[in-house]
């Protein structure tokens, strides 16, 4: 509310019945002598009346069957399977054995000595032709006309 007097901020609360008893009595006493507050209160009451008379739109159909038939509900089972610890024992042992076997095999492979594989590197983009080719040319295996 516009501050035309110290009570102007209380107008809204007074209209809503949210002022305490003593504040309400003081405000009502003030209303009798303040034209601005009286005018503003009338405007607020009018606004409220207008709000309460707004058309009441409706969904137009029962939404409940739509909600309850939603696939998202079926995807969420109401019954949740429960397992006892002893029912999970075989699975736990099998998982532990699989992991242990994997670790053992990995360790045994990595402990063997290196075979010493030498991977030849190819110099593909060297400016000079490969040695064998030069020898072949120089030795006359290839006729010079074909080069």
């Amino acid at each position: 509310m516009k501050k035309h007097c110290k009570w102007s901020e209380e107008l809204s609360s007074y209209l809503d019945g949210e002022l305490g008893a003593s504040s309400r009595l003081k405000f009502e006493a003030h209303l009798g002598s303040c034209f601005n507050c009286t005018e503003m209160l009338a405007q607020l009451r009018n606004l409220r009346h207008c709000f309460q008379s707004l058309p009441q739109q409706e969904v137009g159909f029962d939404l409940a069957p739509v909600i309850l038939a939603n696939p998202a509900h079926r995807a969420r089972p109401a019954w949740r399977p429960s397992f006892s610890w002893w029912q999970m024992l075989p699975v736990s042992f099998a998982a532990a054995a699989t992991v242990s076997l994997g670790v053992f095999m990995g360790a045994s492979l990595s402990s063997k000595p290196d075979i010493g594989l030498v991977v030849p590197t190819l110099a593909v983009f060297e400016p000079m032709p490969p040695f064998d080719v030069c020898v072949a040319v120089m030795s006359g295996c290839y006729p010079k006309d074909n080069i």
């Binding site: 009338a42 009018n46 008379s53 058309p55 409706e58 969904v59 029962d62 939404l63 739509v66 309850l68």
Partner: protein, 190 residues
């Protein structure tokens, strides 16, 4: 509900009783809650978004979220304020994502009556309703939501505080500012 007769007079049950029944597995109790609140939620969302299709979608989303969350719900607040809180959060998220600020022209200024005049001068015509609807779309969303909760849903400041997560003092001052802003828009000053 396996060893109990299904309840036939759902209308006689309070909201919290329906919630308890639903939490016990009675889906018809939730259906009753949906029927009670679907139009109220729809109207609130419709006036927030100003789009019927979007309002229908958001109302349905609200009910779906309620369906999933209600199993773990504890009655710290009433069911109504909790449901409006869910609806309001969904609506504000949608509005924030869209980041659309609608400009709704107001053709004529709302004529507030002279305080000395009688009740016959109060706004009752359809034209005035249209002006108010248009003004609502122009006012800030924070103001719109709080005005709708107060003036249409007739919630107390404490209930509005529960819905919006605000203290009562903040609710009080925001409602006052929202009303002032709406009146100024209606009068063509904003």
């Amino acid at each position: 509900m396996s060893n109990r007769e299904p309840c036939c007079n759902w209308e006689q049950l309070q909201d919290h009783e329906c919630v308890v029944l639903f939490q016990g597995g009675e889906q018809a109790a939730f259906a009753e809650l949906v029927r009670r609140y679907q139009d109220r939620i729809f109207r609130f969302v419709l006036r927030m978004t100003d789009c019927r299709e979007e309002a229908l979608e958001l109302t349905q989303d609200t009910m779906l979220k309620a369906f999933h969350a209600l199993a773990d719900w504890r009655p710290d607040a009433t069911f109504a304020t909790w449901l409006f809180c869910v609806a309001n959060n969904a609506t504000m998220d949608r509005l924030r994502r869209k980041k659309v600020v609608k400009y709704v022209p107001i053709e004529e200024h709302m004529d507030f009556p002279d305080p000395a005049s009688g009740p016959e001068d109060t706004m009752q015509s359809a034209q005035q309703y249209r002006i108010l609807e248009a003004a609502l779309q122009r006012v800030h969303a924070d103001y719109r939501q709080i005005l709708l909760l107060r003036e249409v849903e007739e919630m107390t400041y404490a209930e509005i505080g529960d819905v919006l997560g605000l203290r009562e003092g903040t609710v009080k001052s925001r409602i006052a500012r929202a009303r002032q802003a709406l009146i100024e828009i209606c009068k063509g000053k904003a």
